[in-house]
């Protein structure tokens, strides 16, 4: 499958909306294997190797949920992608086989000495998704563990241990929205998955844009022109899934990130038109929040040129 066919284009209407556009996923999946699997999993592992502290963090209380996540994701991969993965149980010992990477993981459930990494850190090395565990505690919903290789301008270390509603940069425009999302999350039923798409823009075709290296990649934002936008600017879509872990009652949050260079996006008339109108109607405060304000005129200029070339009415 080509990456363009599987790109989860996020816009459904001709104007900008900021809502909890979550929908239930049946069957309840937490991960997806795309055509870039091998390449992206290798990149993830390289990042984990080089910057483990930046890409993996956990609090001790998350361990039960980590084990639950490990079992869930390995089971899911073997159930829905049997040609690529298998998962077998012999007594208390489990064997997960990754045929795409020709690897085998053997472990005893809930026995920490049987694995080399923490459970979340281990299972995350077999999926393209970033994986976050949020603990549903008596005093709130807290980020308690995460394997985060492909963040869009945020720091796992900074948000570790934070309450869900304070994790996002405080922006008045989204405060009410965040409060509602939190309420929505606390009502997610066990074994149920919800999916939403969240979009932003990345300058350069780079999945790993953590806040920690902002001074390297962030300056590219000043270099966007009407001429280079097609190559430099990428629509970044995060397919975010929320799953209620039934045993611990905690939340698994998975993020699968897709990038599409604008040159490929504008080849689809419908996508071009929708993307253009959404960027154009994006409120100033949110354009700032998404970091688009810096190059919004250049971006719109590029898109208008494409619309004209393809003879599409604005």
């Amino acid at each position: 499958m080509s990456s363009k066919v599987e790109f989860p284009f996020p816009f459904t209407s001709d104007h900008y909306e900021y809502t909890n556009n979550s929908s239930p996923l049946i069957p309840a999946r937490t991960v997806t294997v795309s055509s870039n699997y091998v390449e992206e999993v290798r990149l993830k592992r390289k990042l984990l190797e080089e910057n483990h502290e930046r890409c993996y963090r956990s609090l001790p209380i998350s361990l039960e949920s980590q084990w639950e996540t490990l079992l869930l994701v390995f089971r899911e991969l073997a159930t829905y992608e049997p040609e690529h993965f298998s998962f077998k149980r012999r007594g208390n010992t489990y064997v997960f086989t990754n045929h795409l990477l020709q690897e085998e993981e053997t472990f005893v459930y809930r026995d920490h000495s049987s694995i080399d990494f923490e459970p979340l850190d281990l299972v995350g090395r077999h999926v393209q998704e970033d994986l976050i565990v949020m603990g549903d505690r008596h005093d709130g919903l807290f980020l308690e563990a995460g394997q985060l290789c492909f963040p869009s301008n945020w720091s796992l270390t900074f948000v570790l241990g934070m309450e869900f509603k304070t994790i996002h940069t405080p922006v008045p425009a989204i405060a009410e929205f965040i409060e509602k999302v939190e309420r929505f999350i606390t009502r997610i039923r066990p074994n149920t998955a919800w999916e939403r798409k969240n979009w932003s823009i990345t300058i350069s075709h780079k999945l790993d844009t953590p806040l920690e290296t902002y001074s390297d990649w962030g300056k590219l934002r000043y270099h966007v022109t009407k001429e280079n936008a097609g190559e430099l600017v990428n629509l970044r879509v995060e397919v975010q899934r929320l799953f209620r872990l039934p045993v611990t009652n905690d939340i698994l949050f998975s993020i699968h990130t897709y990038l599409l260079p604008l040159n490929e996006l504008v080849a689809n008339d419908d996508w071009l038109k929708k993307f253009y109108t959404n960027v154009k109607t994006l409120p100033q405060e949110l354009a700032d929040y998404k970091g688009i304000s810096l190059y919004k005129p250049e971006l719109l200029g590029f898109l208008e040129k494409a619309l004209k070339r393809r003879k599409i009415e604005r």
Binding site: P60, D139, G161, E212, Y214
Partner: protein, 147 residues
């Protein structure tokens, strides 16, 4: 939302030597016929000796921490079952800023631009606050001509 300290029936204050007078003051202020306020002064907060004391506190009590190292003690308290809302930190320390580039925390006098003590990046503190680190996130400063 934090409750007023006056609504608790039992309060434990843990202080280091430096903040002893301040803690005593707090104890006098809160102590009355219906409220038991215990003060424990130790050489340094976060030195690991307070765990037994913390876990012996009655349910529904509040905890006030005075001094440097309150953060470590707070984390111990949370792991022992305290709700984060029942923990109060009294410190003379100024604002803390979390470097988004190297994770070092610098204490600041004002909310203005500063240079990270560790990585020497020029940073600007933001409104984004972590109650876990008790620090504000600080972003690197770009000058537009910077390439």
């Amino acid at each position: 939302m934090k409750k007023a300290l006056k609504t608790y029936r039992h309060v434990l204050i843990i202080s280091d030597h430096v903040h002893r007078e301040r803690a005593k003051c707090k104890q006098r202020e809160l102590q009355n016929r219906d409220r038991f306020v215990q003060l424990k002064v130790i050489s340094q907060l976060g030195d690991g000796t307070v765990e037994a004391l913390l876990s012996e506190q009655p349910i529904g009590s509040a905890l006030i921490l005075c001094g440097e190292g309150a953060l470590e003690t707070e984390r111990v308290a949370v792991s022992l079952g305290y709700a984060r809302n029942d923990i109060y930190i009294e410190t003379q320390q100024q604002m803390r800023a979390f470097c988004s580039q190297c994770h070092h925390i610098t204490s600041l006098v004002t909310h203005e631009r500063f240079v990270c003590e560790n990585c020497r990046n020029q940073l600007e503190p933001s409104e984004h606050y972590s109650s876990y680190h008790r620090a504000h996130l600080a972003y690197p400063v770009f000058i537009e001509s910077d390439d």
